[in-house]
């Protein structure tokens, strides 16, 4: 098995929301040239599906007759292992289109808890499709769980309706990437949605204690978003350890957790979904060294005060000096 880490993009959305028809455009939008595509459906599907993008024509493997997050999980994991072991063809990304009823958190948990796949596959993006023409069943938690949302069939509704839908989805997940998908001359396109408010710029001196930057609650859905500002001396490893404890106990109500922590020349990004915290990734730090970190917690309950107290007591580096540290075992 190769010792490289391959990204997997999880694609979710209700039946008929435009997932499969938009796959080619999505791959082109992200700039991948050699994708391997797996499509899951609860019903029986053709063994192979072909689709096109501006970069070429691709074949997709299928898993039919059950959901990959539960009853067909063994086949799903087996297919991923086979893809990694297949040295006959190079690929730069795995696209997994889940069935319309799949639980995305269960899918990422299957990968992150697998003894081998967790080392070789990284859930780099979760793209959720929303049908612009059918938003009645739209669930805030589905949007909150995603890294990227695509408003499909946008050419079938008015620009005003797109703006309204975008605003509502952003109230559930303010820092997601939002795209719109339309069809022009029979070609599916994926474009960035009109811009929203910029990500929060943490205020205060770089070493000031952890603070609440902003808290909001969606008017229509019971989704709470809390943005925290983190001091520069904070350890991403301590924050990640705290996050695993938080998600282990409260992953049923914490939909998503995302942090960017300055660490020397790098910024370390933490990403959590439900009970799962993904392996922290370090990126080049393009911000000034004094820029504070950020933590966003999206949950279904109002825990902002407790989250802040807990962060200040357990994670803030300022408290460490006043408390004993762990001693070596005898």
């Amino acid at each position: 098995m190769a010792s490289v880490v391959k990204p997997i993009i999880l694609v979710t959305g209700a039946l008929g929301s435009g997932k499969t028809s938009g796959l080619g455009a999505l791959i082109a939008h992200f700039g991948y040239s050699s994708p391997r595509v797996l499509i899951n459906d609860v019903g029986q599907v053709n063994d192979e599906i072909r689709f096109e993008s501006s970069a070429g024509t691709y074949a997709a493997e299928t898993i039919g007759g059950g959901c990959a997050c539960c009853e067909r999980s063994d086949e799903f994991l087996g297919r991923l292992l086979a893809l990694l072991d297949d040295t006959s063809s190079a690929f730069d990304v795995i696209i997994f289109e889940a069935s319309g009823v799949a639980d995305p958190a269960a899918v990422v948990r299957l990968i992150s808890e697998h003894p081998k796949l967790s080392h070789h596959i990284e859930a780099s993006n979760h793209v959720h499709y929303v049908d612009a023409t059918s938003t009645e069943g739209l669930l805030a938690c589905d949007v909150a769980l995603a890294e990227t949302c695509v408003i499909a069939k946008s050419d079938l509704v008015s620009p005003g309706e797109i703006d309204e839908l975008s605003a509502e989805m952003r109230s559930w997940n303010p820092h997601m990437k939002l795209l719109v998908q339309d069809v022009v001359d029979e070609h599916v396109r994926v474009l960035p949605a009109p811009p929203a408010a910029p990500d929060p710029v943490p205020a205060g001196s770089s070493s000031a204690p952890i603070a609440l930057a902003e808290a909001s609650r969606s008017e229509r859905a019971d989704v709470h978003v809390a943005d925290f500002s983190l001091p520069t001396g904070l350890s991403w490893l301590a924050l990640a350890t705290w996050a695993t404890a938080l998600l282990a106990r409260h992953g049923d109500r914490v939909l998503r957790l995302k942090a960017s922590v300055p660490s020397g020349q790098q910024r370390v990004v933490l990403n959590g979904v439900r009970h799962t915290l993904f392996p922290p990734r370090s990126l080049e730090n393009t911000e000034p060294r004094s820029t504070r970190g950020t933590l966003t917690v999206i949950s279904t309950t109002q825990d902002v005060g407790l989250l802040l107290d807990s962060l200040q007591v357990f994670v803030d580096p300022a408290i460490e000096a006043t408390h004993p540290v762990l001693v070596p075992a005898e």
Partner: protein, 100 residues
């Protein structure tokens, strides 16, 4: 290092940990361990790191001990020992850890 596939998993989950300097790793480990100590002590448990490995010995108030291999294993090991889950949002736990 995962012996099955030669990937450096490390105490900090691979890539971000591997790209840290030794000094940074030492600082992170120190702060992470301080967090574990504060959290466990508010449940009247103690925790100690076993030598230079990323394994920990948890000791309960009755003298019961258990080993957790990796910091993320501390939570399930604690749960098995105590029959309850660690809760970083429990106001009583926060209050005890803060020394208020």
């Amino acid at each position: 290092m995962c012996r099955g596939c030669d990937v450096d998993t490390g105490p900090g989950w691979g890539q971000a940990w591997a790209e840290s300097t030794r000094n940074e790793q030492a600082g992170h480990t120190h702060l992470r361990n301080a967090l574990l100590q504060r959290l466990l002590s508010s449940y009247s448990y103690s925790i100690s790191q076993i030598d230079i490995t990323d394994s920990f010995r948890l000791s309960g108030p009755t003298g019961k001990t258990a080993i957790a291999h990796g910091a993320r294993s501390v939570w399930p090991v604690f749960e098995e020992m105590s029959g309850r889950q660690i809760d970083v949002l429990d106001p009583r736990v926060i209050e005890r850890a803060s020394g208020r």
